[in-house]
Symmetry: C2
Subunit: 465 residues, 2 copies
């Protein structure tokens, strides 16, 4: 365990410098979904490229795709040893509503040992930790115990529309033995988790058009369909009042939870009262017959992410609006297929479309759900690395979120994927006041460093899926 002490010393000594560098990275507003941030995306990619070069990664490149760029780097001098492919993303979510942020989203600020900024935990902070782990090992011994390849993309938050093609075109360059991703959460403060499954994602935007321009609700009201009302009827038809999704065939391919899984989740002792307090609701609401963990890990959802139409300013405007729209996404679980689900959504919308309006449905990008056996040696090794640093048993969990590209890695490269995250569910990913608990930054750096040694103990054959 000598390397643990070495890592510990290095990270303590350089903590302020590392945090300063991370803040630099977080100041770049790399919002992939908004076209006005195209320049910032390039700046973030360049920042990362420079960072790769400075820690000793080689063959560093910014690779073009049909969308935002991919940043690549490797170190391949551990002859005969396994190769770890580290995947992450440098893009972030939009930041509105801006007025709910205590400090500006792109002005990182440490308060109470938490680093506040968009991207602090999802995912710039965690990508940065892998880079610094490489730096620490290189600085101390001049080499790494395993081979590593980094592939950090800029389109995760918009569903990785171009990465699949990139992986296909770069199969040889990306060849490895396992894939490691740090973009998931821990089970709770001080409670590490290795995630063995993720939900997939699919979605549609519904645009409802009534009259060709807004109408006076007095002159026309009562005789012309109101697109907001029509849209509300469609949205309300998507589920019953108990939260079960009412789209024909939606649950057809859902893999039922095994008794073992349900028992394992129960054993985690999830605190629903604490959750209610954390998110500020008096009661939870979800599909009947399932616990909260089951609902969010192993059951699919249909959520309205946004709605718009008519007048939403101060006061009153008695308008009969011309248009209304809603953005809808579904979280999918094995073995639902995103394309099939979109077809079912479209059929449902067509069936429930009210009279007097036209309805346009457009598709968002899709990601398949993913699951991997939790007894794989690379998974178990991750659990051991956590336990060495956190001194508690690691939980083996599934995640409610989606990293759409995980399923693509699985399909194209055929490699086991290890999801070892350092975020906490209270850290407001995708919401105002995103932050990262710095104790997990500090401990996570050591976990990652140790994990490289753990994997060095296996042969390539051991790690075969």
């Amino acid at each position: 365990m000598e390397h643990l002490q070495t890592l510990d010393g290095y990270f303590k000594e350089n903590r302020e410098e590392h945090l300063g560098q991370l803040k630099e990275f977080l100041r770049i507003p790399s919002i992939s979904s908004l076209s006005e941030h195209k320049g910032d995306m390039k700046t973030a990619a360049e920042w990362l490229m420079n960072s790769f070069n400075s820690v000793g990664l080689e063959n560093v490149s910014i690779d073009e795709t049909d969308g935002h760029q991919v940043v690549y780097g490797d170190w391949l001098h551990a002859e005969g040893k396994p190769t770890i492919l580290v995947y992450g993303h440098y893009d972030v979510q939009p930041v509105d509503p801006l007025n709910l942020w205590t400090s500006a989203p792109f002005e990182p600020e440490v308060r109470d040992n938490k680093l506040f900024a968009r991207g602090a935990s999802d995912d710039k902070g965690q990508v940065f930790m892998h880079v610094k782990a490489v730096e620490a090992l290189m600085k101390e011994s001049g080499s790494l115990p395993v081979n590593v390849k980094f592939i950090i993309e800029g389109e995760e938050e918009i569903g990785s529309p171009h990465l699949e093609k990139y992986i296909k075109e770069n199969k040889d360059k990306l060849a490895a033995d396992i894939i490691v991703i740090s973009d998931t959460g821990m089970q709770g403060p001080g409670q590490p988790a290795v995630c063995y499954g993720l939900r997939g994602l699919t979605g549609v935007q519904i645009d409802v058009q009534g009259s060709q321009s807004d109408l006076h609700s007095g002159l026309y009201g009562g005789g012309v369909q109101n697109p907001i009302h029509a849209l509300a009827e469609v949205l309300a038809s998507f589920r019953d009042q108990e939260g079960t999704i009412a789209v024909d065939g939606f649950y057809d391919k859902v893999r039922p939870l095994s008794d073992e899984e349900r028992e394992a989740y129960k054993a985690l002792g999830f605190d629903e009262e604490a959750l209610k307090e954390e998110v500020g609701v008096a009661e939870l609401f979800g599909e009947k017959g399932f616990t909260y963990l089951e609902q969010t890990w192993a059951r699919p959802t249909l959520e309205v992410n946004g709605i718009f139409g008519g007048f939403s300013g101060e006061g009153i405007k008695t308008v009969l609006p011309a248009e209304a729209g809603a953005k809808i996404t579904c979280r999918l679980v094995p073995d639902q297929d995103p394309d099939e689900i979109v077809e079912k959504l479209k059929a449902h919308i067509e069936k429930h479309k009210p009279a007097g309006v036209t309805v346009k449905v457009s598709e968002f990008d899709k990601g398949k759900p993913f699951i991997t056996p939790f007894d794989h040696p690379a998974i178990q090794a991750a659990g051991r690395s956590y336990e060495k640093i956190y001194n508690v048993p690691t939980a083996y969990t599934r995640g409610g979120g989606s990293i759409p590209i995980v399923a693509a890695f699985d399909e194209i490269l055929g490699l086991p994927v290890v999801l070892m995250g350092f975020g906490l569910s209270s850290e407001n990913f995708h919401a105002p006041n995103e932050h990262f608990h710095l104790e997990n930054f500090d401990q996570g750096l050591r976990v990652i460093g140790d994990y490289y040694y753990e994997i060095a103990g296996f042969s390539k054959d051991d790690l075969k899926k």
Copy 2:
């Protein structure tokens, strides 16, 4: 009919100057509902005061209320003759969505003999016509055939919250024999109408709160209520799929249409095909069992005027939003009571409120519905004035819109109200590209001038309600 020729000559001679003045008035962005336009409201009131003074009105004043100001002026030297109280408003509706305007809303522009600007027809243009009618009569003969009082307010578009108090406190100052309002539409191009009834207005804003801040739809989705979904369920519950409002007791006090009224409306030969083309819809949609005119003149409505919640920008944001809201207004018909209807709405919302969210309901300002006998001499006289200028029979109609203060005038002053409007339903009141057909500006000026002579032919007793 000598005065008609005189008026004709005067308005022709001064047309360009008059249009120039009206454009000045329209350039002032007097949006009463938006607090940032408070200064513009004062500018518009002052512009009107100067205009009153310049045409020879007396006792001109800007009167304070607890909201926006009222502009008053009179001319009371027609001894023994009736007094006409002219009511109108100098405030206008908001202008969004701005990108749908062909020319800027506060940069008036004449295209194809139509004047485009916010307020061109609703109601600055029509207020201006009354001022210019006074000017013409004063310029030509040094006096008016009747007494007139002008009361032009700045809060009509937000429901006239302070005018009722103003009328009560100024009963003597406002004493008159009839009230004339030009804020309604004609029956169609070249088809004048006198309106004998108006719908009332009431409304609520529904604010739905789920979690205390936006949540990641992957991590929490499926286990926490979505406020947009909850709101959609409430909105969908407001009516059945045929357009009938499903709020308990909503129709209880609705005065049924008489056979005579239904016949009279039928006789107007309303062209539903032309309407569909005008507003750009493939089919009309309204309460079953009623014609379009009946639906919009004599039946109540419940319209969602605006909805908001979650992410509405470009692309996708997989958020489980914390809040959603909707603005709802009802058009009311005799003898519905706005306060009673709000209570029924609140009871309905309480009953249909989904689990897992809190719902706040706030009230908008209210206006009662109004109706007046169409055989009153002041109504019939208005019909004659139109017929002299337009050379076609006048239609006696009801209006789907609301001038909430009309019911208050009726109740407090006990006077017959004559609604003689010059707008056309195609003129985009409350919507982008509001405009005013200048042929109705030209002919309307003469109708108003003639109407003052018509009323001069009656004794005060003739006009008693």
